[in-house]
């Protein structure tokens, strides 16, 4: 309800944050380990995918996107869409030069 502007947060316990932190450290270790492998063309893609996974954790848990209304998630999607589209169209030029 718009009148109820004061949001009473469902307080996460401390635990979830510590868990996510461990997950982030693990993913960092993973990305460093994978960097040592020779996977040629997939190097960038793998690094980006792992970075996206880490960002997803930070966005949903640390930044509380999970408990916000749908509007926030739509907003984030639109912003990311803009970046992704710009990237794709930029390479519409560069990948064919």
């Amino acid at each position: 309800m718009k009148e109820n502007n004061v949001q009473v947060e469902h307080s996460h316990g401390y635990g979830i944050y510590i868990l996510v932190w461990l997950g982030l450290l693990a993913l960092t270790a993973l990305t460093v380990a994978v960097a040592g492998l020779d996977i040629g063309r997939f190097t960038v893609a793998t690094a980006i995918i792992i970075a996206c996974a880490k960002s997803y954790l930070v966005l949903t848990i640390f930044m509380h996107l999970r408990s916000e209304s749908k509007t926030f998630r739509v907003f984030v999607f639109v912003a990311l869409l803009f970046l992704v589209i710009s990237f794709i169209l930029l390479f519409a030029d560069y990948s064919f030069k």
Binding site: K2, T71, V78, F82, I85, L89, L90, A92, D93, S95
Partner: protein, 552 residues
């Protein structure tokens, strides 16, 4: 009627926002005010000042071009003129004008709110605007002189020239930040502060366009921010980002520049289109045709407008595939704009048209924007663009859309809303005379550009072959006619502020949106009680089409 609220009539003893006494007195009560209406007025004064400056540079440019060879200045100075004309008109006039003046003043009122979501941030946006303006002025007066790169600041010249490029870039950066914060404020305001009874599809169409514009402001502007910042860093620290001498790619600069600057033109036109959608129903006395189509087309224009930027770069050496893709997407972006034009025209059909001054400018908009838009679609065809790129044809095109479009919508908004804002009526006859002079001058000024550009006259050239002389001559005469018209129009407004007929009537034109339900001029709080909205904002009871629309 659309509102059914209690106690919308104030007791008449409430002071208007102009007389309201807050924490600060005198001038401080204005420049420290967080009242969205006062901030709108602050913007109006500053934006119009810079508009006048931009007109002066345009006037000087046309004066130089009236004859081949040197007329009043040399080539280097001419380059500075067109750079300043572009930078001022784009960053200090067209981008902020309608959102920062009319969006600030009327958006909260149109949705039944008392202010925007972040009033103090709103004031800060204006401070940033002034700072940006001052930086632009400094670029003119500081040693080195104003930039001569064109408003596009293309690499490598922008990192080579000795002129005050850094001041100009910092000005654009700060102005961009101002634009971002305004957009951020408007998005939050529309989401959070609508009157409880106003669902998304009861919002006035101008609110839809302010909303769509705000998204482009927030998402696209940071790109130009970082791009210009990188150029500054490159100039100062010789970093090696775009400069080809350091291994950089100047075409990449152009990509980054246009990823913002193309959506920027939609920041310019969308609010103008919103004004058109506001004014047409009122003076055609007809319900707007296709409300949802117009609303969604605003979103579509904002979205598709982000996909077409490289159509500014067809001649710089992009890949064939890239050019093909961007040309195709450019065709797509014209569609939602066309949808609006069709809907406006359909609204006029069988309407009872009243040619009040606002309506004159709006009808001119439809005509001029169509010319501008169609010449734009032409340029989307690569084969044509190879011929007309960097000619006067482009200059004619963008003046038809930005000036004939947004500019005329801005003038329409002035004629529509100034009496509400100040409670003073201007002289209608004088306004109409000014309109016809402006309309004539505009076309005499810009249509020859389309012709001579087609015939090969380059843009940004201070000298030219004799065969183009007649066109330039006519065009310059047009600029004088236009300026006379502008002077009459603005004089009319200024006189009216002092000596115009005082108005206390709430609904001057017979509009159906919320600003016509409140006091003239509005009180500080806008509404005594938050209004209850029952219907579409543009329902005119005396016609069957309205009834049909309601049933749908």
């Amino acid at each position: 009627m659309i509102t059914d609220s209690v106690a919308l009539e104030t007791n008449g003893h409430e002071p208007s926002y102009l007389e309201y006494k807050g924490k600060h007195k005198g001038i401080l009560g204005w420049i420290l005010s967080t009242d969205h209406k006062r901030i709108g007025i602050l913007y109006m004064c500053s934006v119009l000042t810079f508009f006048a400056m931009g007109v002066v540079f345009g006037f000087l440019m046309r004066l130089e071009l009236i004859a081949p060879g040197k007329t009043i200045v040399n080539a280097e100075t001419y380059n500075k003129f067109f750079t300043l004309h572009g930078v001022i008109m784009i960053f200090l006039f067209i981008i902020p004008a309608i959102p920062a003046i009319f969006g600030n003043f009327f958006l909260p009122i149109l949705i039944g709110a008392k202010d925007v979501a972040f009033p103090r941030l709103n004031l800060f946006s204006w401070y940033l605007y002034i700072t940006g303006g001052l930086l632009a002025l400094m670029s003119i007066v500081m040693p080195g002189g104003p930039a001569d790169t064109g408003w596009t600041f293309y690499i490598p010249y922008s990192v080579r020239t000795d002129t005050n490029v850094i001041y100009a870039l910092m000005a654009a950066f700060v102005l961009g930040f101002s634009s971002i914060l305004t957009g951020l404020n408007f998005i939050t305001t529309v989401h959070r502060l609508r009157a409880p009874s106003m669902g998304w599809f009861k919002m006035p169409l101008s609110v839809w366009s302010f909303y769509a514009t705000a998204w482009v402001q927030v998402l696209a502007t940071p790109i130009i921010g970082i791009t210009l910042l990188l150029v500054v860093i490159e100039r100062v620290l010789h970093v090696g980002i775009f400069d080809p001498a350091l291994g950089g790619d100047p075409v990449l600069y152009q990509h980054m520049f246009w990823i913002y600057s193309h959506p920027a033109v939609y920041i310019m036109i969308l609010p103008g289109m919103g004004i058109v959608s506001e004014i047409i129903p009122v003076f055609a006395h007809r319900t707007i045709f296709g409300y949802k189509f117009i609303a969604f087309s605003s979103i579509a224009i904002a979205l598709f407008g982000s996909l077409v930027w490289a159509h500014h770069m067809f001649t710089v050496g992009m890949s064939d595939a890239g050019e093909f893709i961007f040309s195709l997407l450019t065709m797509v972006v014209a569609i939602p704009s066309a949808i609006k034009v069709f809907n406006w025209t359909a609204t006029l059909y069988k309407g009872s048209i009243e040619l009040a001054p606002p309506m004159l400018y709006i009808l001119a908009f439809i005509f001029l924007f169509s010319i501008g838009g169609l010449t734009g679609v032409m340029q989307g065809v690569i084969a044509i663009d190879i011929q007309v790129h960097n000619t006067s044809f482009i200059v004619g095109h963008f003046h038809y859309v930005m000036f004939g479009g947004t500019g005329f919508a801005f003038f329409a908004a002035l004629h529509y809303w100034l009496p509400k804002m100040f409670g003073r009526m201007y002289n209608i006859k004088r306004a109409k005379v000014a309109f016809w002079i402006i309309f004539t001058g505009f076309n005499v000024l810009y249509f020859p550009m389309l012709i001579m550009g087609w015939l090969g006259m380059p843009r940004r050239y201070y000298d030219y072959l004799p065969q183009f002389h007649p066109y330039h001559f006519i065009s310059t005469i047009g600029s004088w006619i236009l300026i006379i018209g502008l002077i009459i129009m603005f004089t009319n407004f200024v006189i009216s502020l002092r000596r115009g007929e005082k108005i206390t009537k709430k609904n001057l034109w017979g509009g159906e949106t919320l600003e016509w339900q409140i006091d003239t001029p509005p009180t500080f709080e806008n509404f005594a009680e938050i209004p209850v909205v029952e219907d579409y904002p543009y329902v005119y009871k005396d016609n069957e089409i309205a009834v049909e629309e309601e049933k749908v």
